[in-house]
Amino acid sequence: MGEAIKAAIDAFASPVSIFVGSILVFAVFMTFPKQCTTRWVSAVFAVLFLAFFAFGLTDEHFRGIVTKPDNVPIVAMLFIFGYFTWFAMKKAVDNDERIAKGEPPWEKTEADEKVMVFPYLIYIEFVVALFCSIGLVLWSIFLKAPLEEPANPTISPNPSKAPWYFLGLQEMLVYFDPWIAGVLLPTFIILGLCALPYIDRDTKTSGFYSYAARKMPIMFFMFGFWILWILLIIVGTFLRGPNWNFFGPFEVWDVHKVVPLVNINLSEIIFIKWLSQGLPSNWFLREAPGILIVLFYFAVPPVLMAKTVCKKIYEKVGPERYGVFIILMLMMLALPIKMFLRWGFNLKYIVAIPEFFFNI
């Protein structure tokens, strides 16, 4: 019975099913936050997650990966962030209901009242620091810091993985070249985070938990954080084995797993498959369709969206801020778009100019 369930989960697990499934769960959660944070639904979610985890721990391979010392923080993080996402959304939904009824948010009822920092705040800080210390000391006593064989530049482990907090970036390498996954996208993540308060500046909705009042920013942020960051870390850490091949959660990491390399470039699809001729020898001619598509992606949707779906945002923030916002959004969405192109059409590069290390 247990083995059958594991086999079924492994057979079903793939980057496609995990991402599509997660995005569906995400969409349901963001569409029905009130229903999803009720006691019963959240209890069912928590029990299902815990049950899967407990069931997984009975499996030797699963246990081996999840309890690997450096992976323990990721597991802890999943629980912590799962809880606090639920907590924040619950508070937000509560406040939204109050606002809908014409009452001020909870925070407002206490905002004009002041308390002495000593002892009230310092007491809270002390207790929290105390529990944190106890937790860290217990963690340190029961789990030894890993130490492998001495460094040997001639033997590279398979798979070689970056520290866990960068595994989202390493996972992006599946879909993008290093200059995008390792340099461009991280830069845009940092710039995007920095730019956030200069784009979303409506102070009427600051200082309290709310979803209805700040739906757009919260949806974007949660999508970026949970799907494009945390989920990529989970896949990169737990589900990527030797040669960075994908393995199900209960699948043994087989070094000899053979995965067909069937990915092809856009130029090959266009010139060889559709036009039935060889690739042009001139790289510019060869990649012209891809370059046009990329230029189109960054030029046309912003204008169209400014006049349709994003009209309100455009009018609210003005052309400069809208421009920054839309470029950041398109950069962010480029990752899931490239993923789906890869899964759906085996597309390797939209623009492939290996002559200049310029592949998109």
Binding site: L121, W139, L147, P150, A162, G182, V183, L196
Partner: protein
């Protein structure tokens, strides 16, 4: 009850009974604080629990005075802030202390680094400083993300706090870099290959990495300006691969350069919280 008292009776008559007859001078913390010159010189506030004295407690203590004297009740709630930012700072302090302890035992050379870690494990019985440092580093990353998540969810990045949010983003990046540079120091297979994978990305930096797009354009005639011995990865590692120079660079970045930058930015970050109006609240 009666029986228990009977049983305790003989105890008082035991040979240790003389101890109770010794008159030790009674130590009173309160008297020490309020009546001795030493106590009065340490603490500049009284001992009563009125508001004035509590205000003085915060104002005259360098550690407490990061706080204002009074805060909004909504902002003092654990449910609002989750204490994530304060916890991040607390873990940072833990890491500074445990890190200094580790520096006594560790030499950043290819020859000694790994053996020093082994020695640390073998020679310090029940030692948990390395564990505390490693797990603390992971915990700090989690709390710093949690802090960002909370600030985002409450919309606290909005004006007038936008610049402090930017500083926070830089601090978050520094936290990741601190953890990343520390990852190399044990000099085991895990360390060297994780850093190799991480720094390989720098090869592909546009224009500045020798495998990055545009790097080939930076040339004087036939002479390539950007090659594997002059690109940004070389600057980071002090060589073409993760070796002796990289270990020393990462050690100095980890123990001196990044912590100094982080501390300065933390000072600005904390100071700006108050200058920007304290923990956010609805207008």
């Amino acid at each position: 009850m009666g029986e228990n008292q009977d049983k305790e009776e003989p105890k008082k008559k035991s040979s240790l009974n003389f101890l109770s007859r010794i008159k030790l001078p009674k130590f009173s913390w309160k008297d020490f604080r309020l009546k001795t010159q030493v106590g009065k010189s340490m603490f500049r506030h009284g001992y009563s629990d009125d508001e004035k004295d509590r205000a003085m407690t915060v104002l005259t203590n360098v550690f407490f005075h990061l706080h204002p004297v009074r805060v909004r009740k909504s902002g003092a709630r654990f449910g609002f802030t989750w204490c994530a930012g304060g916890l991040t700072f607390f873990i940072f302090l833990t890491l500074v202390v445990s890190g200094i302890m580790l520096m006594f035992y560790y030499r950043p050379t290819v020859e000694y680094a790994y053996n020093d870690i082994i020695a640390l494990r073998e020679h310090v019985p029940f030692g948990i400083m390395r564990e505390l440092h490693r797990w603390g580093a992971h915990a700090m990353i989690i709390t710093v993300w949690l802090h960002m998540f909370r600030v985002f969810m409450t919309g606290s990045y909005k004006p007038p706090r936008e610049f402090n949010w930017v500083i926070g983003v830089i601090l978050l990046v520094l936290t990741l870099l601190l953890s990343f540079t520390g990852y190399l120091l044990p000099w085991d297979q895990l360390a060297i290959w994780a850093i190799t994978v991480g720094t390989n990305m720098a090869r592909a930096t546009p224009f500045l990495g020798h495998e990055g797009p545009g790097a080939a354009l930076l040339a004087l005639g036939d002479i390539q300006l950007i090659h594997s011995g002059s690109d940004v990865r070389f600057a980071l590692l002090g060589g073409r691969f993760v070796g002796e120079a990289a270990l020393l660079r990462f050690y100095i970045l980890h123990c001196v350069a990044i912590p100094v930058a982080a501390v300065i930015l933390m000072a600005v970050h904390f100071w700006r919280i108050r200058k920007d109006g304290g923990i956010s609240a609805p207008l």
